[in-house]
């Protein structure tokens, strides 16, 4: 079975729990961590590749723990013509992929750090962050 890529997001209350260990131990899943990030507010983002029979039960378990689970099938890009460099996305982006360069206060987008959580897509007031299939 081909591995499936998913994005997990969890709050500070869960950052300390050994959820990955439980996926392996209780659900017999093979886990490959593609990207991992815990920001200063202790909010975590993980991009995983998962393989195994109990894939659906594993995701169900994660959701029960309060983890948000999303399929990673897309890419988020910035429409440079539309972006005003306001910065409204920068405290929303959990991984720092959208960040302000000081002292000029220009907003930069580093796609390598983007985990496609899509929080910026709705938070951007001028809809400059776009989902590509």
């Amino acid at each position: 079975m081909a591995p499936k890529k998913i994005v997990l997001r969890f709050g500070a209350d869960i950052s300390g729990n050994p959820v990955i260990y439980r996926l392996v131990k209780d659900y017999d899943l093979m886990v490959n961590i593609v990207k991992a990030n815990v920001n200063p507010q202790k909010e975590g983002t993980l991009v995983l590749e998962l393989t195994g029979e109990k894939y659906d039960q594993g995701l169900e378990f994660l959701r029960r723990q309060g983890v948000s689970v999303q399929a990673l099938t897309r890419e988020v890009v910035r429409n440079g013509d539309r972006c005003t460099m306001c910065g409204a996305c920068t405290a929303i982006c959990p991984t720092g992929a959208l960040f302000i360069e000081r002292p000029g206060m220009e907003v930069r987008f580093d796609g390598d750090n983007c985990v496609v959580c899509q929080l910026c897509v709705k938070a951007c007031p001028v809809r400059a962050m776009e989902v590509r299939l």
Partner: protein, 398 residues
């Protein structure tokens, strides 16, 4: 001795191509280098800028008359209602109006993807806009219905008239509750997860003229990429000088402007339809105001830096919605722009909603307009109420 200048003298120098025009950022550097007295003697005009969502915005439109004639009593533009309770084919499209079938916050948090601000952006960009109107029919205006397409060029008049813009200063918004909230200050994460602020600080027009010494009725300004004017003080214009518990002055707060200008000369780069998740639709507006350096006092205010200008930190999870007084302290724009502030002993990441790079671009554009002699300064017909007038907001009982 400090040099005094008049509007007429400054305009003569502008016409002769000899005026010294600096952006507010450049003035700060010059004052640091040469001192206030020398800087105020050298500089004729200081330019400012701000580009941010300004909800109290909209445009008056006149569509021209159809045959047979129609007294439009209800009007929609791209499905967004416009106010038509004025003369036959006039209407006002407000920035925050949304289509009647918008799910609003029933689908919380609502997306508000298209509203009056987006209609204004579409018009300014020259894109065709669907006009639909209904009427009851009169002897002189018999037609009852029309559906057609207009563009900004096709219609007789279109002028932006924004009753409350260019807020002098604004709250730094935080959220102390346990849930994410969706506000006009953006998405605020629980437990002081982030802090949003929305002025351009040391470039912000009214922060540089705290006592309204030069900005008044008739002041010519950069508005939406074109030339506009200050029409009046804005609604809720309650200018004051902030002080901390020790009585130290922390910059101005509370002033607003009503502004007007010809939409036909403006640009979609400086009037952008904007959506706040869970809050509503609005319009981002670019405004730049020139400050004539008439004397040293005006130069001193215009040279205030981010370290001297402060915003109150306000909890949008508790006190703000309940209209309770008080704040969680003041933070300087230098702190806000550093990326973190301390609130209730906690480090909180900050983010702006107002674009500093765009504010800088506006100040530079206005500087260039004045430098090339195509933009002259106007002396206000009348000055606006200042902190000395002691205006304050009235509560609404009900």
């Amino acid at each position: 001795m400090s040099a005094e200048k008049t509007y007429a003298e400054i305009n003569e120098r502008i016409k002769a191509g000899k005026a010294v025009v600096l952006t507010a950022e450049e003035l700060i550097d010059l004052v640091n280098e040469k001192g206030l007295t020398e800087a105020s003697r050298q500089v004729d005009v200081v330019t400012t800028g701000t580009f941010a969502p300004m909800c109290s915005s909209g445009a008056f439109l006149n569509f021209g008359h159809s045959a047979p004639r129609m007294r439009m009593s209800r009007v929609w533009l791209n499905n967004v209602p416009a106010y038509a309770g004025i003369a036959a084919v006039d209407a006002y499209i407000g920035a925050t109006e949304v289509p009647e079938d918008d799910p609003l916050n029933n689908n919380y948090p609502g997306e508000f993807r298209y509203g009056g601000g987006h209609v204004i952006e579409d018009l300014v960009a020259g894109r065709p806009v669907r006009l639909k109107a209904l009427s009851y029919g009169t002897d002189c205006y018999p037609r009852r219905e029309i559906e057609t397409t207009i563009t900004l060029n096709d219609i007789n008049d279109a002028f932006l008239f924004n009753p409350r813009n260019a807020y002098q200063n604004y709250n730094c918004a935080v959220n102390t509750t346990d849930r994410t909230i969706y506000t006009y200050m953006g998405t605020l994460k629980p437990r002081l997860g982030n802090a949003h602020y929305s002025t351009s600080g040391q470039l912000s027009p009214l922060l540089k003229d705290p006592h309204f010494k030069t900005t008044g009725i008739g002041t010519r300004i950069f508005l939406g990429g074109g030339v506009g004017y200050v029409a009046w003080h804005g609604t809720q214009h309650f200018p004051a000088i902030q002080t901390d518990a020790q009585g130290r002055e922390l910059g101005a707060n509370g002033g607003t402007l009503a502004v007007i200008g010809d939409l036909k000369q403006m640009s979609p780069r400086w009037l952008m339809g904007t959506s706040y998740l869970g809050y509503g639709a609005t319009l981002s507006v670019g405004i730049g105001i020139p400050i004539p350096v008439l004397n040293e006092e005006i130069a001193r205010y215009a040279a205030a830096s981010d370290a001297e200008l402060y915003a109150p930190v306000v909890d949008y999870g508790t006190t703000y919605p309940e209209r309770q007084p008080g704040n969680l302290g003041f933070v300087s724009y230098a702190q806000l722009k550093s990326g973190k502030i301390t609130v209730n002993g906690r480090e909180v990441p900050t983010a702006p909603l107002s674009s500093y790079p765009r504010a800088r671009e506006i100040a530079a554009t206005l500087k260039q307009w004045i430098g090339t002699g195509k933009f002259l300064l106007t002396e206000p017909v009348q000055l606006l109420p200042s902190p000395a007038d002691g205006l304050s907001g009235k509560p609404l009982n009900g």
